[in-house]
Symmetry: C2
Subunit: 278 residues, 2 copies
């Protein structure tokens, strides 16, 4: 596969995609970013072949949108007449309902395929400096076709395999967002809420793996995640309510010194993990 890849936004995800394309495929990679120092760094380290601009869009075989959700939509709106009908446009946003409420209709109207995508990999650092050609090795790649032609979906799957993803899962925007509210957004809310405890600044010497794991992703990019949380507010607040109900059940058993009820609740948790083989 030797294709022209255009990546818009060379942050953690866009930068890692660029590096993975250069490491694992013979595609040519063009990078677009508003920050010229990022573009220069990407060119210098070989993550991209060329610093790109609007003029590179018509020759793209695949266009990756790796900005924040609203910025992705704005980018397409501003460059819509430059996209050729054979170019597969995809995104990497953590939430799909918002993107998929706009881009599939635009794509249909202007005659190019759009397939939503979400690489399930991340880090507690942000930006091109943290990007890594191997960030996606073994990770799951969520694909949200939103009515795109099957061959476009298959093409995106074949790219994912070349880049080293562990597998692809095809789903709807709604199901994607419900699952992500649980698997990703909830842990980010929890991490931030957790480290707000007055005890947190004194934790050193008193902590081990449990502290480290729950607090890890509190090192959050608040601009991006505020947008993602609000885009997915219904699913996220449902998950937060469910979580707080379960915390309250456990708390009440503790307050009441009801050891039997507490053991029953904790056993429920353990059995979920055991049934999942984790």
């Amino acid at each position: 596969m030797k294709k022209n890849i255009v990546i818009v936004g060379l942050g953690l995800i866009g930068g890692s995609l660029a590096k993975a394309f250069k490491k694992y495929t013979d595609c040519s990679v063009v990078g677009i970013d508003r920050d010229s120092s990022v573009l220069n760094a990407a060119l210098a380290c070989g993550a991209i072949d060329k610093i790109g601009g609007s003029e590179d869009i018509p020759s793209a075989d695949v266009l990756y949108l790796c900005l924040y959700p609203q910025a992705d939509i704005d980018f397409i709106t501003q460059h819509i007449h430059l996209i050729n009908p054979n170019c597969l446009v995809t995104d990497t946003c953590g939430i799909k309902s918002e993107i998929c409420a706009h881009l599939p209709a635009t794509a249909k109207e202007f005659g190019f395929p759009f397939v939503g995508g979400h690489p399930m990999a991340g880090k507690e650092q942000n930006g091109f400096g943290a990007s890594d050609a191997d960030l996606f090795r073994g990770a799951s790649y969520l694909i949200v076709p939103c009515g795109a032609p099957e061959q476009a979906v298959d093409f995106l799957k074949s790219i994912a395999a070349e880049l080293g993803f562990g597998g692809t899962v095809v789903t709807t925007p709604e199901h994607h967002d419900k699952m992500i509210a649980f698997t990703s957004q909830l842990p980010h809310v929890l991490a931030c809420a957790y480290v707000m405890s007055p005890r947190c600044p004194e934790h050193k010497g008193y902590s081990a793996g449990s502290y480290r794991d729950v607090s890890r992703v509190a090192n959050i990019n608040e601009q991006l995640w505020a947008e993602l949380f609000i885009d997915n507010r219904q699913a996220l607040t449902e998950e937060l309510d469910t979580l707080m109900e379960h915390i309250t059940e456990i708390k009440n058993a503790v307050t009441d010194c009801n050891a039997e009820s507490l053991r029953t609740l904790l056993r429920r948790g353990r059995l979920v993990k055991e049934r999942l083989g984790e």
Copy 2:
């Protein structure tokens, strides 16, 4: 240091201590456990030199209590007349107020030193089978002297250094338990509450590091942790209330689509982590 070490309870912690003593010191290690298959396994793999009983207690230089809190207290009560005045008695319980309300007074009355201890290391597996000579490498060792002579405290510190702990922290039972409510108990409650979401059984393919980290310790020993939670109910419920207040603040900003307020809250979390250099 060639001493007689008696370890009561060869679970994850007691078993790991036994293995660490055999790997890193020339002490002789005697194991006491109610489960003869565990004792045989420990003897067979060289974690202990001898399967012990009451008759080994008088010659112990250090007696490690590695049972559950109430069982540790019961063990001392039942064997009090066998403990020689030069024997350092210590425990490994995750909560100190309960142990320290009983054992220091008993120790003073019967004339042997008691120093509370809490190795800050664990695993999401339990029992001797999961024990590991290197579980404590680099970990923090919390020491709660409760009025014990300084030389007993220094002796426990020197053992910790030989076993490979990363450092020791000396504190009071009350401060220990407040900190542990935050660093260890809260993450365990959270993990159990988190995996109770109806979404959890379907997470595979939709999850990555955030799910794995928050859910890890849901694989809990409910007998032990129910006792630890109830022993520390005041500090734990205060932490749970604090956490739920902060979750609710974030949730309200999401529900209200108040991006500015949400960013401010998330930034608070990020800054805590940044100030800690994490």
